[in-house]
């Protein structure tokens, strides 16, 4: 019995030693790669996508830790973690306008503005990856597919499938009515109203009772006219508590 146990430990030790050595080798390879192509990662969003996809395919998360090799040697970490900070700031600043829902387009525009003229180019794919990492902070970050794009949620409000599908319905015109929900989704009035009221309470929808036929529920996140509206100084203060 004892002999088997001993052998077991020896096996693990041997493999660990092997892994340690291979890790050193890999680090060397990565350093070599970095010395030749680090610029590529910083400059090219396309290259970043390739890089991320390849990592995902083999089961490696280059953004898991700032202490990982990828982060340390390729600088991918800092790029995305800093982006995370900028995303949080924009979402906080605009939360009172849109209840914590914002389209990926608007987020992209606002982040680019915040980064200034001389910063590196940042793509929507970059934003999505940064947001996926932010989820773990428990602040309610979420990504909701709507139409051809995404709504980014940045508050811990619970949005279930019903809410999501109504958001998707509203994406076309920026607003939705009870009748539309009933006819498109074949729901009963009560169910439609519950969903809309929840969105109102969360500040994600505004009610226009003076619309001609019936009340319209508008989603500020989807107001295209509000895009590229500057973040006011008051809002900016809100972003940095």
């Amino acid at each position: 019995q004892a002999k088997y146990k001993e052998r077991g430990t020896v096996l693990a030790e041997d493999q660990l030693a092997q892994m340690s050595k291979q890790l050193d080798m890999f680090k060397t390879n990565l350093e070599e790669f970095a010395s030749k192509h680090k610029q590529e990662i910083r400059k090219s969003p396309e290259f970043r996508v390739q890089f991320q996809d390849m990592c995902a395919t083999i089961g490696v998360d280059p953004l898991a830790s700032g202490k990982g090799f990828w982060s340390e040697m390729l600088g991918v970490g800092d790029f995305y973690y800093e982006l995370g900070v900028q995303i949080i700031e924009v979402c906080l600043a605009l939360k009172h306008r849109n209840g914590g829902l914002i389209t990926l387009e608007e987020l992209h525009q606002q982040v680019l503005k915040g980064r200034g003229k001389f910063a590196q180019d940042v793509s929507q794919d970059d934003l999505l990856r940064a947001i996926k990492k932010l989820k773990v902070l428990g602040n309610g970050f979420g990504i909701i597919p709507v139409g051809g794009t995404y709504l980014i949620q940045s508050v811990p409000a619970e949005l279930n499938m019903d809410h999501t599908v109504v958001l998707q319905l509203a994406e076309k015109k920026g607003f939705v009515t009870v009748s539309e929900i009933k006819s498109s989704l074949k729901w009963e009035t009560e169910r439609a109203k519950q969903v809309l009221e929840h969105l109102l309470k969360e500040g994600m929808a505004w009610l226009d009772e003076q619309a001609p036929e019936e009340p319209q529920y508008w989603l500020p996140a989807l107001f295209t006219e509000l895009y590229s509206q500057e973040i006011t100084p008051e809002e900016a203060k809100e972003a940095i508590p």
Binding site: G8, K36, I58, D78, Y81, H96, L134, N139, G140
Partner: protein, 386 residues
């Protein structure tokens, strides 16, 4: 030993490093030579030995020269060895340390172990014979335009030509980058496979692996960005790094917490810490893993997770339940308050204000009025007036 040639030790184009091992001594057949302590490198094309003390001293032999290899296990006072039988040296061989030798084999002594792995890799390379299919060239010359010369191009034609060259250069850079990336990923994949194999062994053994080994394994996974397949209750996904980080955070956050009433959301902490660092930022996961260790390390700050999933850092001295009592007073004074209003009054973030009011409700001090106008909290008169 006369099959070896002097070399710079630089890998050539197309040549890839397979494995390397320190502490290797070379012998000419049965005789010792002055190559006593070096790093032995195996590439797809050559066996390279570099003196550990004098890096200028570097020799190599092409793998194509190898006839076959044998293992010699270690004994008392003797390291394990690999015996490498070689073809006679070719006539156009580059000059090396020996002009002649009476032996047709050399011995590699692994004074610092590693012979099992090295033997395995060398056998693989001998089977695959990659040197036959991958041509190598000289390491890159600095001046690429030796052949073409620098054509002085003038006018629009010249500009166009320059742009074309630049574009080709960029394309070449990108495709070279992608090629290199693919190769790199293959190696990373090997690491993932190995870690899975180790993880399986750990699962099977169920505790025959020491705490020390667990810690080492976790740090290897962290370096590669491989998800930890074996969770340990003691520290979760935490590693030594996260432990250190936890201690650092306790120091950094003391004052900010005091300034903010003893409590901050994890997103606030993430932004604060990373803005302060500027470089070598923390990943969100780093922060969470470090915070999960705060309690067990008995640090003056702690992680708390509300029912909603919101995560906060509190000073140990902070008592949210006590704050609820003062929140109740505030709400009573005003009759009723929404999270927004309360936040403005008290000078808190809306997120934390809401959590406090929800907690007060959970404790029975407040009631909610949930209408389309928003969520409003009232003192719970059912409780106080019954």
């Amino acid at each position: 030993m006369d099959r070896f040639s002097w070399t710079t030790g630089l890998l050539e184009l197309g040549e890839t490093l397979v494995v390397q091992q320190r502490g290797v001594r070379l012998s000419d057949g049965e005789e010792k030579v002055k190559f006593d302590s070096g790093v032995l490198l195996l590439s797809t094309h050559r066996l390279i030995w570099r003196d550990q003390k004098n890096h200028e001293c570097c020799i190599a032999v092409p793998l194509s020269q190898i006839v076959f290899i044998e293992e010699q296990s270690s004994g008392i006072g003797k390291s394990a060895k690999i015996v490498v039988h070689l073809h006679p040296a070719s006539s156009n061989k580059e000059p090396g340390p020996f002009q002649s030798s009476k032996y047709s084999y050399i011995k590699l002594s692994f004074k610092e172990h590693g012979q099992i792995e090295f033997y395995r890799r060398l056998s693989e390379e001998m089977t695959q014979r990659r040197w036959e299919s991958i041509p190598t060239g000289q390491a890159m010359q600095v001046n690429k335009n030796t052949q073409a010369g620098r054509i002085r191009a003038v006018g629009i034609v010249g500009i166009e030509r320059k742009l074309e060259e630049k574009r080709k250069e960029t394309d070449k850079n990108i495709s070279e980058a992608f090629e290199d990336l693919s190769k790199l990923m293959e190696k990373a994949k090997e690491m993932v496979e190995l870690s899975k194999s180790i993880a399986n062994k750990i699962k099977e053994k169920q505790g025959d692996i020491t705490e020390d080994e667990t810690i080492r394994f976790k740090s290897y996974l962290l370096s590669m960005g491989i998800a930890n397949p074996v969770t340990r209750e003691t520290y979760g996904s935490g590693t030594q790094y996260h432990m250190q980080l936890a201690k650092q955070l306790a120091g950094i956050l003391q004052t900010p917490l005091e300034e903010r009433g003893g409590i901050m959301s994890l997103t606030e902490v993430y932004c604060l810490v990373n803005r302060a660092r500027g470089l070598e930022l923390l990943s969100p996961e780093d922060l969470v893993n470090a915070c999960k260790m705060l309690e067990s390390l008995k640090l003056p700050i702690r992680l708390r997770i509300f029912d909603s999933g919101v995560m906060v850092i509190e000073l140990q001295s902070h008592n949210e339940e006590e704050m609820v009592a003062s929140a109740l007073e505030t709400v009573s004074e005003k009759g009723s308050l929404t999270a927004d209003e309360f936040a403005k009054l008290v000078g808190m973030s809306v997120l934390l204000a809401k959590e406090r009011l929800l907690l007060a409700e959970k404790m029975g001090h407040l009631c909610r009025d949930d209408s389309v106008e928003g969520l409003r909290f009232y003192p719970n008169l059912f409780l106080t007036q019954s």
